[in-house]
Amino acid sequence: MINYSLEASGLNKSFGRRLIFNDLQFKFDKSGVYGISGPNGSGKSTLVKIIAGIIGASQGKIFHKLDEKEIAEEHIHNHIGFVSPYLVLYEEFTTYENLKLFADIRGVKFNQERVDYLLNKFLIFKRKDDLLKTYSSGMKQRVKFIFALMHSPQLLILDEPTSNLDDEGKNSVYEIVKEEGQKNIVLIASNEKNDLELCDDTVYLEKYKN
């Protein structure tokens, strides 16, 4: 039984005079896979950044609750895993070094067993000691998934999760999404039909333009 919930209340975001979305409401309090969809420029990435606490909303609020208690803004990052094409990890470090240093900065124990499981799942175990700058963009995208999943977050936010990935990589992502969706909340922001087919419910951002 999931004890995490995500709720948006009267969410509004504008950049200057340009309205991105207005009076956005949703509540996800059951484990599952949820989608955020809309045409290019509709604000999918903006919304996931607001949910992750990276940028603020112009009006309204996002509530992250654990056991019915609201999580303080400065602790939200401990409950979230985030993957996006614009997320960049440290290229001067190896995959293993990156994951270890992120665990240390986050203040959680480096779970070697889980990291090795994820490295195998995303088929990069053999390259774990190579510098990230030697990786292809698809391999970097796989490392981002491990970065997002290594601390077992209750909310997994995936912004265009299958970009840069080959078929093998996409299958790994879909398997992980289904696996995580059984016990946690998975949020997918995408336009890809295959990505959205995994979702139990989808928020269409074009409905919130007025």
Partner: protein, 221 residues
């Protein structure tokens, strides 16, 4: 929080050893700045008070050449988001501050040693007063440089904006530190320098408090 900030500092330290983003810039600037002063002075005999002022000029411009890297390098490489996803703003600021404090102390110690070796007139009579002003001056310089780096990291013209924004903020610290260095050169006692010392300590406390209060707003877009 402390161990997380220390981990972030270690990350920056290891990253610096591999990329040499700031160390090379600082080392080159120290050598160039001291060489330019040496060439411009030539065979002229400069007064002790002038060496005290020039000492802080070298420190100010060297700081401007390398200390912005704390946040600018994260922004330029696009790794800011990764940090936002793993740490609270106070952790990030503390980690970056530890790195800059160590960098400032290393940089200014090298400047002080080279400067003493190159300029005969730069003779400190009251070493304890110089050391005290050096320590508090460096802390103030590191705190101010770190928060200004965070502010300018998202701007377009970072290189220009950094010294322009830093100058008015650092001016009270630099002026007072120059005065304290002159006192130390003249051998003036601690008792007579306590007003200037109080200004430097107050500056450090105010900047540190203001930085922690402001950083949340700066860090979140």
């Amino acid at each position: 929080m402390n161990s997380k900030a220390y981990s972030l500092f270690l990350k920056d330290f290891k990253s610096e050893l591999r990329t040499r983003y700031a160390i090379n810039a600082l080392a080159m600037f120290i050598i160039v700045a001291i060489s330019v002063i040496l060439f411009s002075v030539g065979n002229e005999k400069i007064s002790a008070s002038l060496t005290g002022g020039l000492f802080w000029v070298v420190i100010f411009f060297t700081a401007m050449s390398g200390l912005s890297r704390a946040f600018v390098s994260e922004e330029e490489r696009g790794t800011t988001l990764a940090l936002q996803l793993v740490a609270a703003p106070t952790t990030v600021f503390s980690g970056k501050l530890i790195f800059n404090i160590i960098l400032v102390f290393a940089m200014n110690t090298v400047i002080a040693i080279l400067y003493s070796a190159m300029f005969d007139a730069f003779v400190i009579q009251n070493f304890l007063l110089f050391l005290t002003s050096f320590v508090f001056g460096n802390i103030g310089l590191a705190v101010s440089s770190t928060i200004i780096a965070a502010i300018i990291a998202k701007a377009g013209a970072k290189g220009t904006l950094y010294p322009v924004l830093a100058f008015p903020i650092l001016l009270p610290l630099i002026l007072t530190s120059v005065q304290l260095t002159l006192f130390a050169i003249d051998g003036i006692s601690f008792e007579r320098a306590k007003f200037e010392l109080a200004i430097v300590v107050s500056y450090d406390v105010i900047m540190l408090t203001a930085s922690y209060m402001l950083f949340d707003f700066i860090w979140k877009e």
